[in-house]
């Protein structure tokens, strides 16, 4: 897209209830001398609206969790993942957890057998629960699944409506502040990637293509800055969201992540998740996860612009 003065305009979707990315770029000092103009689009309810907006050429780029791309692909929304925000040490760290309330005597996932476990269908929380159960040789049939929006999960857990809750990020930190404890995290179970996705048409566009390339570089730098200055970032984010600084900091320090290229591992992780959804009936058809990725910008990260294949 082009602006009033004919210059290039990159429309970036900002998912979640806080305009965090502009603040992050500014704090990291990477928002200067842009060769294009950025137009921010806020999607407070995350997922669906962003996908819908991309489908009708209202937004070019955005960072989402990995799950929405699976459903975007199923709906032919024309979004491709061009970079991956991954946890640096996924075997040790994670943003996801399955929590039990204070006073629960569950000590392992195996103890969840027959328990009421809350997660939101069609989100990473569901995937997490399935993988955790799988690791103990259990399935969804062995527990009593409770489908709840992520925003309502903590309330339900605190009021004893459910025995366990799969949740993530600040929700985790908030519940923890209230005494809940993590039975298991996502580390070693799920990748927990976020994906930088772009409209397929924008990727090939002679003006937008280079802009996206430039933006990915800046984003990587900014995320790196964030990991290096957690207190500073926590203060900024707390100011934007109104959350207590401790909660933000706890959440931020949970797992260090960085922006990187599209990799075979990322595709494989996505394929695994997609297959799980197929298995539980959320998806009707098997997907080829590779179709959700486009490695054209891998060069930004010094990686080959083609996937290695199997």
């Amino acid at each position: 897209a082009s602006g009033d003065d004919g210059g290039t305009v990159l429309r970036i979707g900002e998912l979640g209830a806080v305009p965090a990315a502009p603040a992050l770029l500014e704090a990291a000092g990477v928002d200067q001398d842009l060769p294009y103009e950025i137009e921010w689009k806020q999607f407070a309810n995350a997922g669906p609206e962003y996908v819908e907006a991309a489908g009708v050429d209202e937004v070019d780029l955005g960072v989402t969790a990995d799950t929405p791309l699976i459903f975007a692909d199923a709906a032919d929304a024309g979004l491709k993942a061009v970079a991956v925000v991954s946890i640096d040490a996924p075997e040790e760290q994670s943003d996801n957890a399955i929590l039990v309330p204070a006073g629960s005597d569950a000590s392992s996932v195996a103890d969840l057998e027959g328990a009421r476990v809350a997660f939101q269908e069609g989100t990473i929380t569901q995937y997490h629960v399935i993988k955790a159960l799988e690791s103990e040789g259990l399935g969804l049939d062995d527990i009593e699944p409770v489908n709840l929006p992520v925003t309502d999960g903590v309330t339900a857990l605190q009021n004893g409506e459910v025995d366990a809750l799969a949740t993530l990020q600040t929700h985790w930190a908030q519940a923890e502040a209230d005494g809940a404890r993590a039975l298991v995290t996502g580390s070693g179970l799920i990748a927990g990637n976020s994906l930088v996705s772009a409209r397929a048409e924008a990727i090939g566009d002679p003006d937008l293509g280079p802009a996206i390339e430039d933006y990915l570089g800046r984003l990587a730098e900014a995320v790196q800055w964030k990991e290096e200055h957690p207190e500073e970032w926590a203060e900024i984010y707390a100011g934007l969201s109104g959350l207590p600084e401790e909660v933000v900091l706890a959440s931020e320090e949970r797992a260090a992540s960085s922006v990187g290229p599209v990799t075979d591992e990322a595709v494989a992780a996505q394929q695994d998740q997609s297959d799980v959804y197929l298995e539980v009936g959320v998806l009707d058809e098997r997907q080829d996860a590779a179709g959700q990725f486009d490695p054209s910008y891998n060069g930004v990260f010094g990686a080959p612009t083609e996937l290695g294949g199997d």
């Binding site: 997922g47 669906p48 996908v51 819908e52 489908g55 009708v56 459903f71 975007a72 199923a74 709906a75 032919d76 929304a77 809350a118 269908e121 069609g122 989100t123 699944p145 409770v146 489908n147 709840l148 929006p149 309502d152 309330t155 339900a156 009021n159 409506e161 459910v162 959320v282 998806l283």
Partner: protein
């Protein structure tokens, strides 16, 4: 002048000014009879198909009627749609029954007692303005995540339209009838039964129409809470999985429910308000 219907052949019909009016009325009334009510919906369907065919309504966003038919047939064949509808029907009707009873009782209290008015009306106007969505956490605390919370949200949504319409309708009852009621010595209960309720009935029916629609609409929110079935669940699921054809089947189901409940309320209205002469379209 009015026209002729049984005039002898020697006195031919005279076209007077009033004749024109009558002709107009006849032309408007078309020989379709009761099928007239379908004109609108059929037109809507035609517009939709046209929009889909011309691309004004992209298939990706709103599937074409033909696609929807196929998906719908599929959902029905597998029994999913019926199952969801049945579950939702239970929730909607339970909540509606409670909400209507509550709204009516509150409206009567506020309408008949000054003290009731003072205590009830303000809070009702306040609560009515509160987004039900924002009440979900509180509802979970009070009612848990079982059926109660889903029914509660329906009650919360349906009480107000009944209350507001009924309350306004009670205010609109001709006060001369209240005078009459006093002179014939009706007690409070008889006043309600003989004067207030029948007089406010047309307003009540408007409220009931809203409430009926809302009882279904609320499910889109309440069936996100620990639900694995129901039309609201189906819609939410379809949206987060970007299954536009299912969404549209849901929309159509909603539309049909709206039409059906409207026809039902109209039917009851016609029976109950048979004394009423209404202002007629021409």
């Amino acid at each position: 002048m009015s026209g002729t219907t049984a005039a002898p052949p020697s006195a031919p019909a005279q076209a007077g000014p009033a004749e024109t009016e009558r002709g107009g009325r006849l032309a408007g009334a078309l020989p379709l009879g009761r099928l007239r009510i379908l004109i609108g919906p059929v037109l809507l369907l035609a517009l939709w198909q046209a929009g889909s065919a011309t691309g004004l309504i992209p298939e990706r966003t709103l599937a074409a009627p033909s696609t929807v038919l196929a998906t719908g047939a599929d959902l029905i064949a597998t029994g999913r749609l019926q199952e969801h509808l049945l579950v939702s029907l239970g929730r909607a009707m339970t909540g509606l029954a409670i909400g209507v009873a509550l709204g009516t009782a509150l409206a009567l209290t506020a309408g008949l007692f000054r003290l009731g008015e003072d205590v009830i009306d303000g809070p009702m106007q306040i609560l009515r303005a509160v987004p039900g969505l924002a009440l979900v956490p509180l509802a979970i605390v009070w009612f848990g995540i079982g059926e109660e919370v889903k029914v509660f949200l329906v009650v919360f949504g349906t009480t107000f339209p009944v209350y507001v319409n009924m309350h306004a309708a009670i205010r609109g009852v001709d006060p001369r009838y209240a005078e009459l009621a006093r002179t014939v010595g009706l007690n409070r209960l008889q006043l309600i039964r003989r004067v207030v309720l029948p007089g406010a009935l047309p307003g009540f029916f408007v409220g009931l129409r809203f409430a009926t629609a809302i009882s279904w609409l609320v499910l889109v929110v309440s069936e996100q809470i620990n639900a694995t079935s129901g039309i609201g669940f189906l819609m939410t699921q379809a949206r987060s999985f970007a299954q536009t054809d299912v969404i549209v089947v849901g929309l159509v189901v909603y539309g049909l429910l709206g039409l059906a409940s409207d026809l039902l309320v109209r039917f009851i209205e016609r029976k109950v308000l048979s004394w009423r002469r209404t202002f007629e379209a021409q």
